[in-house]
């Protein structure tokens, strides 16, 4: 009898907690682990939970995986909010699984820099960008290239051994190499000959290697395989701050290719995804995230920590490639790269 009374009292005491637990939702977002997850939980989830009482669950994987999961469950998507790179974001739009931004629910969208709005056309928003500039060993590269043309010419002349993203790194690598080198010579998506020619010439000089995964350039710099390489700014600064005082980073003129990550509300996903999106696009949330990750943020009013600010690539130093057109050209470019570069 005593046990029954105790159990009943305990159940009554816990009931409000259980009801509260039932009321709180778990919003599912796509994403990654490691430092990315820490930053998202600290900068976005904490204020979101304080506001709504909901928590955030992260589904890890790759863009194609997330899109296929959503397409496989029409009406009941397993993901409410996509945090996804540009190539995946365009696929999501094409697949008709995401909604245009509801500006009434996401007032902070008004503070997003116009160049990103022009890029996303309201089908989601860029929240963070990285720039692919040049990381180099200052003990070897004493006169760092100020322009992309200087980088190409210096490599061909044997001033340094260079490393650029290889074909197997993915679409952002091709945009940063073929398109960018064509772009600085006056070419474009439909005329990328100069990009291919520059890469072929650098390779013929014997002073060019390729990196195909994000850590490979770090190994190449460390082992002397490369003295200078095209690399993401945030990763470069993290490497420099990790006791590599001789390593430097620079964004050559006319700017560095930006890789952007978007936030998109999934059709049929929980409406509180708008609340999280609003926090993700807020100046406070983005300042917190930018300071942790050392990447540029899309909100024009973000104030970075003074120690981090010099490491952030300014918005006027980035170049946004036409990713949609590049995606259409990809089969042709991959085929051409296979035949001409290696």
């Amino acid at each position: 009898m005593k046990t029954i009374l105790t159990s009943t009292a305990l159940a009554l005491a816990l009931a409000p907690l259980a009801m509260q637990g039932a009321a709180a939702k778990e919003l599912v977002i796509s994403g990654y682990g490691g430092l990315w997850e820490q930053a998202v939980r600290t900068c976005f989830e904490a204020p979101y939970t304080a506001l709504t009482g909901n928590t955030v669950a992260i589904t890890m994987g790759a863009p194609n995986q997330w899109i296929n999961q959503i397409k496989a469950a029409p009406g009941t998507p397993p993901i409410d909010l996509l945090m996804i790179p540009s190539s995946g974001a365009f696929d999501a739009i094409k697949s008709d699984i995401v909604e245009p931004i509801d500006t009434a629910r996401v007032p902070n969208y008004a503070e997003v820099s116009q160049q990103f709005k022009d890029f996303t056309k309201g089908m989601g928003s860029v929240y963070v960008y990285g720039a692919m500039g040049l990381m180099y060993d200052s003990t070897v590269v004493t006169d760092a290239p100020k322009t992309w043309q200087e980088f190409v010419d210096g490599t061909i002349a044997g001033k340094w051994r260079a490393s650029i993203p290889g074909l197997d790194y993915g679409s952002s690598g091709i945009a940063s190499t073929v398109w960018m080198l064509a772009h600085v010579s006056g070419g474009d998506v439909d005329n990328a000959d100069q990009g291919f020619e520059d890469i072929a010439k650098m390779q013929e000089s014997g002073n060019l290697v390729f990196w195909n995964n994000a850590n490979e350039l770090l190994n190449q710099i460390g082992s002397g395989e490369a003295d200078i390489g095209m690399y993401w700014d945030g990763r470069s600064w993290a490497f420099i701050d990790d006791d590599h005082a001789d390593i430097r980073y620079v964004n050559p003129e006319p700017g560095s290719v930006a890789a952007m990550t978007w936030v998109q509300k999934v059709k049929g996903g929980d409406d509180s995804a708008w609340d999280l999106m609003n926090i993700v696009l807020s100046a406070e949330g983005q300042a917190c995230y930018g300071n942790m990750m050392r990447y540029g943020m899309s909100n024009a009013n973000v104030t970075y920590d003074p120690a981090v600010a010099p490491q952030i690539t300014r918005m006027d130093s980035i170049v946004i490639p036409p990713f949609e057109q590049i995606a259409e050209k990809m089969p042709e470019w991959v085929d051409r790269w296979n035949r001409e570069i290696h």
Binding site: L167, N219, E225
Partner: protein, 290 residues
């Protein structure tokens, strides 16, 4: 007065069986669901991609075999697989022979040494080679300190490093296959050959080698098929200098989303592996028939 116990009832006149055929059904269902069905799907996918009503279902295969570049990649794939198999055979046979004939109580230790690399990640092993082959790597530093070279050699990202990396990963499969067969070989036949006047080489060529051929074939087919599908070593050590079908399949999924073409390439790889298996089984069955 004691009586003799009754003789046990005679056993039914049929072969003793531990299991019924129906016991194989779960395994069969598993294979059908997770092996046969995906293969069928993959084959159907390889015929897709043609324009509606065009009837050009073999376009992907025609492109693969008639385009000079893709045909070249196919030949390169076969060349890499054959060369790596030969390297593993040349390295592996003496090791297997030594283990069976001379290692004695050290044999378990040698087997452990052979298997130990297989217990570490292929990525870690490949990065190990990067440390050795890099411009500031161990090998270049040693050669420069010895005064044999004045400038570092470009050992990484070329075919040689790919062959070495693949042989390192796959040689244990060759050694273990040959060891298993050599252990069962009748050594009295070798002794008989020696007694009849055959020298060591002739004994090896006429007696030992034929007896171990089954292991050589098994090891060769294993290494050949594994090399065919090998991807990571070529990507990390080759850096694109060695292009094989496995690399192109990855590109089709990762970059161009041309799943139909990737499926066609996958089917060609599978066909090559099946041809290898058929050849191996024919050689083995002929030898057993003798």
């Amino acid at each position: 007065m004691s009586t003799l116990p009754d003789a046990p009832a005679p056993r039914p006149n049929r072969a003793y069986r531990l299991a019924r055929n129906s016991w194989a059904l779960p395994a069969l269902a598993f294979l059908l669901l997770f092996f046969a069905a995906p293969l069928i799907r993959n084959t159907l996918t390889s015929f897709s991609g043609a324009e509606e009503g065009s009837g050009q279902y073999f376009d992907n295969y025609i492109r693969l075999f008639t385009d000079a570049f893709y045909a070249g990649v196919l030949l390169e794939t076969l060349k890499v697989s054959v060369l790596v198999t030969l390297i593993c055979l040349v390295i592996g046979y003496p090791v297997a022979y030594f283990m069976v004939r001379y290692a004695g109580r050290w044999n378990p230790f040698l087997v452990f040494c052979l298997i130990a690399p297989l217990l570490t990640s292929i990525i870690m092993r490949t990065f190990g080679w990067e440390v050795i082959f890099a411009r500031k790597g161990l090998l270049n530093l040693f050669l420069m300190d010895a005064g044999l070279i004045s400038r570092p050699l470009d050992l990484l990202r070329n075919p040689v490093s790919v062959y070495i990396g693949l042989a390192h990963v796959l040689a244990p499969f060759m050694v273990l296959s040959i060891t298993a067969v050599l252990q069962g070989a009748d050594r009295r036949l070798e002794e008989a050959a020696r007694v009849l006047g055959a020298g060591p080489w002739r004994t090896f060529l006429n007696v030992t080698w034929p007896m171990s051929l089954e292991g050589v074939m098994t090891g060769s087919i294993l290494v050949f098929v594994l090399t065919n599908g090998s991807f990571l070593t070529m990507l990390l050590l080759g850096g694109g200098t060695v292009k094989t079908l496995a690399m192109l399949i990855y590109q089709q999924f990762n970059l161009t989303q041309d799943v139909a073409f990737a499926s066609a390439m996958g089917n060609v790889l599978l066909l090559i592996a099946l041809i290898g298996l058929v050849l191996q089984s024919r050689v083995v069955s002929r030898r057993r028939a003798k």
